[in-house]
């Protein structure tokens, strides 16, 4: 069996993820003072948890490798999955970065504009209508209704 087929199993990937996080945690906490059980230092509990996670991740990884081929592997051929991942994430990142400088209205337009690309079926005119409705709605709820102090317009 080719190596990548083995890797593309759910449990193998999950196990690797947990092992990776645990290893990262152990590396990050290498300088944290551990202390004693009586006077626990900053690193005591984190390192303990990382070792447990490392063990659990290894078990999941081994289980995944030993499993019979019955499980259907993850298909990376389906590239459509990347579209929502990229554009949903990008829209939020842009929204987060723009809201303080550009204000609510412009950042909603940016969020909807980028976010709408994530779903293929959305027509341009629908996107515009959705953006306008959502601007009015969030203005009403968050600014007028709840009185949140979010800048509405760009600050020059």
């Amino acid at each position: 069996m080719p190596f990548w087929r083995l890797l593309a199993r759910r449990d193998v990937l999950a196990g690797l993820l947990f092992v990776g996080v645990a290893a990262l945690g152990l590396w990050l906490s290498r300088d944290y003072p551990i202390g004693t059980a009586l006077r626990m230092g900053t690193g005591y509990v984190p390192r303990l948890l990382c070792w447990i996670l490392l063990g659990l991740g290894a078990i999941i990884l081994v289980q995944g490798l030993r499993e019979a081929q019955a499980e259907r592997p993850l298909s990376f051929a389906d590239m459509s999955a990347w579209r929502p991942v990229i554009f949903v994430t990008a829209s939020l990142v842009i929204f987060g970065l723009s809201i303080e400088q550009l204000g609510l209205v412009v950042s909603i337009l940016l969020l909807i504009g980028v976010g709408a690309v994530a779903a293929r079926e959305l027509r341009p005119i629908e996107t515009v209508v959705a953006a306008l409705v959502l601007i009015v709605l969030s203005w009403g709820i968050f600014i007028i209704g709840l009185g949140l102090t979010i800048p509405v317009w760009p600050e020059w």
């Binding site: 993820l17 709840l146 102090t149």
Partner: protein, 501 residues
């Protein structure tokens, strides 16, 4: 007598115009997201969590609770009319509810679901009012070692009763505990896992994590799935009232469902979904005509619908009395309490009786409102179902963004939520349930604190957990649960319980 006095206090709080408004708002939002597939109570409560910061804590909790039980009412509407579960807790209602609708008895099915839910809501509210005070008294006698062991038991039980791989779920709990440690250690003042980012020194807010994992993660997951076709039952709903035969068959099922749901709700990891699956299995097995199931048996609607509402409400008991969340929604409730600086635990009942009893009273009022407003509004909810997901997700995405931003008016939180969103999607693809992670995240700091205190009591001897009888008992129970799930017979039963259909 004390109960009546307490309930009087509660209704005094719940009947103020503001709290009535928030109970109604919660119930309506809950019904709305219950009706709509693709957004569940966890994501909604996470999104609204930052907003409760601007409300009175009692009003905020009343609204969030309303969302949770309101979703149980709304979920059944979609299940019956569209054969699509609005919530996971109404998956089994599809089976017989939709068949009833196709036989022209949609009205009867909807009415049975609403009435069974209302009955369960009344009973479980009474159960909370009766059993919460003694349980809180037990909780007050607990010391640090007992609390630590109780949290271990709670986390293990939550994993055993949830579906999916147990070992992955335990790994998710540990991951949640680790994420909960990010920030400044309150005892030593040292920072942990902050990657040198200033915004992380205060730790990650529970709302940021939950909005990312559940709200944004769900959007990505839904968008990668092909759109389901929705077979709407279009004929007019003429007869709403069930027949005499329906009533005769539905009420014993409602009683059984309520009892089962109430018990399963209290258990960690229990709650609405487990209760409804178990109730359907019980009805099918105990019925005199099992062949009717799947062809519009009214018991198949009454049982699960009463059970999911009962389970949703009794899952408040451990959260309110011990400060231990049994499921992800309760973990968010604890988050809401801590936002207001209220330490969750048994002292809430004595220190804030108005909030405690007000919330319980509001649950009953909320159920009453739901059964009254729901049936006339069914036409409106059905109209909402015609809104395609491609519009819905834009609104959810925006509310997630604004919600996260308002947690601390910081852009960093939005970026963090986006990261957790991708992580949530990855977990879903790898079949790692994210709910245990939230439990671990919320309990992490509490567990560390209690572990430290216990160690100080025992001068660093870990045997203290085994020497104290209550603590020992709790740990043995946790171990027994682990052993139980390893038994092949139990394991196959456990998988079966979540695979109705």
């Amino acid at each position: 007598m004390e109960l009546i006095h307490n309930l009087a206090v509660g209704f005094g709080v719940a009947l103020t115009p503001a709290n009535l408004f928030f109970a109604l708002a919660g119930a309506l939002i809950g019904t709305l997201i219950g009706v709509l597939p693709g957004i569940g109570p966890i994501a909604t409560i996470a999104m609204l969590l930052p907003l409760t910061f601007h409300l009175e804590p009692t009003s905020g909790l009343i609204m969030l609770a309303g969302i949770f039980y309101g979703a149980q009412y709304g979920g059944s509407t979609t299940a019956i009319l569209v054969n699509l579960p609005g919530e996971t807790s109404s998956v089994v209602t599809c089976i017989d509810g939709h068949q009833m609708a196709r036989q022209g008895r949609a009205g009867a099915a909807l009415a049975v679901a609403a009435l069974a839910s209302f009955f369960a809501g009344c009973v479980s509210t009474m159960l909370i009012a009766t059993f919460a005070p003694p349980l809180a008294k037990v909780g007050q006698s607990f010391g640090a070692p007992e609390y630590f062991s109780l949290m271990v038991l709670g986390l293990i039980a939550a994993v055993v009763l949830a579906h999916g791989s147990v070992i992955k779920a335990i790994a998710m709990i540990i991951l949640g505990l680790l994420i909960g440690l990010i920030g400044t250690d309150g005892n030593t003042g040292g920072t942990r896992f902050t990657f040198g980012i200033v915004e992380l020194t205060d730790g990650i807010d529970v709302a940021t994590l939950a909005i990312g994992i559940f709200g944004i993660g769900e959007i990505i997951t839904n968008l990668t799935r092909p759109q389901e076709s929705r077979a709407l039952v279009t004929q007019k709903i003429t007869r709403l009232w069930p027949t005499r035969e329906d009533f005769q068959r539905a009420w014993p099922a409602t009683l059984r469902g309520t009892a089962l749901g109430s018990v399963l709700g209290v258990l960690p990891g229990g709650g609405a979904t487990l209760s409804s699956f178990a109730a359907y299995a019980l009805e099918k097995r105990s019925s005199k005509h099992p062949t009717q199931f799947g062809h519009g048996a009214v018991e198949g609607v009454a049982g699960p619908e009463s059970a999911n509402n009962a389970g949703a409400q009794t899952s408040f008991i451990p959260m309110l009395t011990l400060g231990i969340p049994g499921n992800a929604v309760m973990a968010l409730m604890i988050g809401a309490l801590t936002i207001h600086g209220i330490q969750p635990g048994p002292q809430i009942m004595t220190e804030r009786p108005g909030m405690f009893w007000g919330m319980i009273a509001s649950m009953w009022l909320g159920n009453l409102m739901l059964v009254i407003i729901n049936l006339p509004l069914i036409g409106m909810w059905v109209q909402l179902l015609k809104v395609p997901y491609r519009f819905l997700y834009l609104a959810i995405l925006l509310f997630c963004g604004i919600g996260v931003y308002t947690v601390s008016n910081s852009s960093a939180a939005v970026l963090l939520a986006a990261f957790f969103g991708v992580l949530g999607y990855v977990f879903t693809r790898l079949e790692c349930e994210p709910a245990p992670m939230i439990l671990g995240f919320v309990l992490g700091p509490l567990m560390e604190e209690n572990l430290r205190r216990a160690m100080r009591i025992s001068s660093g001897d870990p045997m203290i957990f085994l020497e104290r009888p209550i603590s020992l008992g709790l740990l043995i129970a946790a171990l027994a649960l682990c052993a139980l799930v390893a038994l092949p017979a139990i394991r196959s039963k456990r998988e079966e319980a979540f695979q109705e259909n």
